[in-house]
Symmetry: C2
Subunit: 190 residues, 2 copies
C-alpha cells in the first residue's frame, strides 16, 4: 500500500517524534528548526502549540520543493489554565510535579503541515491522570531522569509515566509528542 | 530510592513485558513458562487473563526461594462478549480486524504475583477505540506485520496502533501487556 506520496521533512530535533513517524510507516528526513518557544500571553490551551507549530514552519530555512511536506509540531502540558514549560532547574521540576500529583491535566499537541502550495494545521488533546506522588518519588525521578528537556517535567514513556500515570483519555502518542492517527489521516488527504 | 526489595522473576517470553518492567525500574530475570492457553468456557472478560496468569504461576517449574517474586500475566482482547485470541492464519486475522474496525473494545491484563509465602493477583482494563479500517489497510497490515502472535491481531505499539487507535480510556501499558502503575503499587506492598 502506498501510504504516503509526499517527500516528508520533520522540522524537529526530537528523536521521539522521528521514531513515532517511522513506526507509523512514514519515512522522513529531519531538519531541526531554530524557533524561540515564546508565544503571546493571551493564548490558551491548544492555541499555544498550534501557534508554535506555525512559528516553526515559518522559520524553516529552505525553499520547499514540489513534493515536499514539512511537518512541525509542538506539545504543551496544560493544568489549572496554565501551561507548564520545560523546567529550568530541579526546584522548578519539583514544583511542576507537585502540581501534577494526584490530579488530571491536559496534553495538547499542535501539528502544522506545509507544502509550497498550502498549509493545514490540527491538534489533539489527551487527558492524563496522575497518582499522588511522594516527595521521595519526585526527588528520585528528577535526580535519576533529569527531565529538564520535557514539558511538565515528565516523560509519558519513562519511569514517571509507567509508574504514575493511572489513566489516559485520548491518544497516548499525542502525549509522546505526535497524534499519529490524525497525522496519518491528514497526510492521506493532503 | 529502593524501588524493589524483591528478586523478580518474569514468567514470560514476551520481550515487551520485560522491556516494560525495565522501563518501570524493575530488574528481573525471565523464565518462559509452558502453559497451554485454554480456559473454562464460562469465564468472562477479566476472569480469563486472571485464570491464565494463575495457571502460568502454577506451571513455574522451579521452587521459589525466600526473596523470589514470580510475575505472570496474560492479556486478552474482549469485544461483543467474546475473547479474541491469537489468529491462526490470514483469514482469521482479517476477520478479527473487521470485528474491531470502527468500534471500541476492552483489553484486560491479569497479573499474578507469587512468592513462597503468598499470592496476590489483580487486573486492569483499558477501552480502545478503533477508526474504520479499509480492506486495503487490513490486508497491508497483515501481510507486512504478520500479527499472528498478537491477541486480537494487532499491536498497540505498531503500525496498526499508531494509525488506527483514535482513543484510549485507561492505561496504554496495560494494552501493551502489563499495567505497570498497578504492578508498581502492588510490588511496593507485597
Amino acid at each position: 500500500m502506498d501510504i504516503c506520496k509526499h517527500n516528508l521533512i520533520l522540522g524537529s530535533a526530537s528523536p521521539r517524534r522521528k521514531q513515532l513517524l517511522e513506526d507509523a510507516g512514514f519515512l522522513c528526513k529531519t531538519t531541526p528548526i531554530n524557533a524561540e518557544e515564546s508565544f503571546p500571553a493571551h493564548l490558551q490551551a491548544q492555541e499555544i502549540p498550534l501557534y508554535l507549530a506555525h512559528k516553526k514552519a515559518s522559520n524553516y530555512p529552505f525553499p520547499l520543493k514540489e513534493n515536499d511536506v514539512l511537518i512541525t509540531a509542538d506539545t504543551v502540558v496544560w493544568v489549572k489554565n496554565t501551561v507548564l514549560n520545560k523546567p529550568e532547574n530541579e526546584l522548578e521540576a519539583k514544583q511542576m510535579l507537585q502540581i501534577l500529583s494526584g490530579k488530571k491535566h491536559q496534553v495538547f499537541t499542535g501539528v502544522c503541515l506545509t507544502s509550497s502550495k498550502k498549509q493545514v494545521s490540527f491538534y489533539d488533546e489527551t487527558t492524563v491522570f496522575f497518582k499522588t506522588l511522594t516527595e521521595q518519588e519526585i526527588i528520585f525521578y528528577i535526580r535519576k531522569y533529569q527531565p529538564f528537556d520535557k514539558a511538565g517535567s515528565y516523560g509519558a514513556q519513562d519511569w514517571m509515566g509507567l509508574t504514575s500515570i493511572t489513566r489516559l483519555e485520548g491518544s497516548y502518542f499525542n502525549v509522546m509528542g505526535l497524534p499519529t492517527h490524525k497525522l496519518y489521516e491528514h497526510l492521506q488527504q493532503f
